[in-house]
Amino acid sequence: MPDESSSNAKPNETGSPVRPYILTWGRQNCDVVRLDMISVVIAARSDVDETALEPEQLAILRLCGRPLSVAEVSAHVDIPVAVVKVLISDLIGRGHVLARAPYTSQSPVGRDILQAVLDGIRRL
């Protein structure tokens, strides 16, 4: 039984990252491309107007000269995944970044993928 009837709000218990959300202009998931933690992203072109981008987006773009997952980008720029997703989806919207959705096992996984994974692990 609850021993106190109300006011169980614990201020700031999640330590919510205020600064990252300012970065994303308060947006969360409403108007962003659906990105997974392991969506793979890569820079799309080299003619970028760097002045039009946030420093964090520029940092992301520089990382993405090679294909990286959203999780890797997040780790490298030290910004939470949820926030990086917004920044990247904005870059995608502007045509600076391309993304590929991960394999999802809504349907059974393909044997070709399993075999490739098996071969890849054996080669380690």
Binding site: I38, V40, S69, S105
Partner: protein, 199 residues
């Protein structure tokens, strides 16, 4: 920016597709050690902000008491070929992070439950989760305590965990790449085996 000046670059760069495997287990079971032993990169850590769905305790009044929690995730990467990348995610072990496994588990090939024989009970929740979700998994018993490595056998562990006989159990040393490879190979074989039953 330095783009590779290859001969005849395609219009669209080749973007590999990613797959993932989860490495679950209690605190100190060696999840990050296992990831690090096979990963081509030093395991990275990232923070994910997750919505924590209300679980049993909060559900009395029917109000969805959701709150967000920041959770650190360690992960590693294995490039399978130019078109395929495998990510290994160490998943937080405590029961209160179940809510997160759902998001993590979506789309995963399967899972390794890393067990520590000194604290087998810490992987009950992982075993339970993967069984209920029908996610293929194997149990790897991390024998990093060399003295005690031989004091358990797979049958004992299976009995203690209450896993079905069809769930493979393997002894491993998560510090050693060859050993961790065998764990992952066994998992992929298990996924294949289950696929054969389904189809």
């Amino acid at each position: 920016m330095a783009f590779a000046d290859s001969d005849g670059p395609p219009d669209e760069p080749l973007i590999p597709q990613a797959v993932k495997i989860l490495i679950a287990g209690g605190f100190g079971a060696g999840k990050t050690t296992l990831v690090g032993s096979v990963s081509e990169i030093t395991p990275l850590s990232t923070e994910e902000i997750m919505t924590e769905a209300s679980l049993g305790l909060d559900a009395l009044d029917g109000v969805e008491a959701k709150r967000t929690t920041t959770v650190a995730l360690d992960f590693g990467r294995i490039t399978i070929n130019p078109e395929l990348v495998l990510y290994l995610f160490g998943t937080p072990g405590q029961q209160r992070f179940w809510f997160m496994w759902d998001e993590l588990a979506t789309g995963s090939l399967g899972a390794v439950v890393l067990a520590d024989t000194r604290r087998l009970d810490t992987c009950f929740s992982a075993v339970d989760f993967f069984e209920r979700r029908g996610i293929p998994f194997v149990v790897a018993v991390n024998c990093f305590d060399d003295d005690k490595a031989d004091s358990y056998d797979p049958e004992e562990v299976a009995r203690a965990l209450g896993t079905s006989p069809s769930v493979p159990i393997i002894m491993c040393d998560a510090r050693r790449r060859q050993s961790s490879k065998q764990v992952l190979i066994m998992l992929i074989r298990q996924v294949e085996a289950l696929l054969s039953i389904v189809s």
